[in-house]
């Protein structure tokens, strides 16, 4: 399982870094790295960072996952964590890979007029995939809210369902015209955060 995680991360990071190297001379000195809700770039970074930060993060993800797994002493929870993190890692790495591709294309002057559609679609898909496996996730060692194992199991199931629903809604928000789509996407993310926090409080009292 650990090997598979590294293979996916290594292949994605290598492909992303090679793409950056190939187009490195054509990239502007200051690369657009973030976009406002109106599709205008609102944050720029030096091209070394823009070209190689995301490939580095792709490699960092499995390293962090392995470290987190080693901190878990309960072998049963470690196995469950490994199974869930296999899915979440692959989804996050593919998400970063797609973001890297779009950033490179935009900064190379390609016409990515639909990049406001890109964010809700890829983040929506990622939320669907991650939310689907959340009910299987063991309780983290770092406990922000005190929940018994049974309360946590119910909370994880509730959060998983909310995350999948939010993923579908975010995906659908890409179909709405410009401003309305952005407002809907922000509202969906805010509702998901509120539901997760509210759920933790609710299940801690049950």
């Amino acid at each position: 399982m650990t090997g598979k995680r590294w293979i996916v991360a290594g292949a994605a990071a290598l492909a992303a870094a090679v793409a950056s190297l190939i187009f490195y001379n054509e990239l502007p000195e200051r690369m657009a790295a973030h976009f406002s809700l109106t599709d205008q770039p609102d944050r720029y970074v030096h091209k070394v960072i823009g070209a190689f930060l995301l490939p580095a993060v792709m490699l960092l993800l499995p390293a962090l996952t392995n470290l987190n797994m080693r901190l878990e002493r309960d072998p049963s929870k470690r196995t469950r964590f490994a199974n869930v993190s296999e899915t979440t890692n692959i989804v996050l790495i593919l998400l970063l890979f797609a973001v890297h591709g779009v950033l490179l294309a935009y900064n190379l002057g390609r016409d990515i007029a639909a990049h406001s559609r890109f964010a809700p679609v890829v983040i929506g898909l990622a939320l669907i995939a991650i939310g689907n496996v959340l009910p299987r996730a063991p309780r983290a060692r770092l406990k922000l809210i005190r929940l018994s194992d049974e309360q946590y199991a119910r909370y994880a199931r509730f959060t998983g369902r909310c995350t999948v629903a939010a993923g579908f809604l975010l995906f659908l928000s890409a179909l709405l015209p410009g401003g309305a789509g952005a407002v809907a996407a922000v509202a969906v993310v805010a509702a998901l955060v509120l539901a997760s926090l509210g759920g933790a409080v609710y299940f801690s009292r049950k």
Binding site: S76, R80, G131, N132, V133, L134, P135, R136, D149, E150, A153, R157, G160, R161, V164
Partner: protein, 94 residues
């Protein structure tokens, strides 16, 4: 743990009822068997199929093995659809 295994496991109403029982918390095989008019080996067989499909997980605690729900959100939806279909068929049969 293929989709086919999950479908096969969820197709049986007894196994879906076991999943409903586990929604309220972890149970031993004996506690699960108490809810059914069946022999314990039959329940063990159902639990084995659910475990093979990845829908439940087991953990040894002392001399007992406790079972817990291990379904994903889509497997919950699949179960819910099969429950609805089953309820509809029972209604038609009456």
């Amino acid at each position: 743990m293929s989709l086919n295994d999950a479908f096969k496991a969820l197709a049986d109403p007894t196994r879906r009822k076991i999943l409903d029982l586990l929604k309220d918390g972890e149970l031993t095989a004996g506690e699960i068997a108490n809810h059914f008019d069946m022999t314990k080996p039959s329940i063990s067989n159902h639990l084995g199929l659910l475990k093979q499909a990845g829908l439940v997980r087991d953990e040894r605690r002392g001399q007992y093995i406790v079972y817990a729900l291990n379904t994903t959100v889509f497997q919950d939806v699949m179960k819910w659809i099969l429950d609805l279909q089953n309820a509809g068929e029972r209604k038609d049969a009456r």
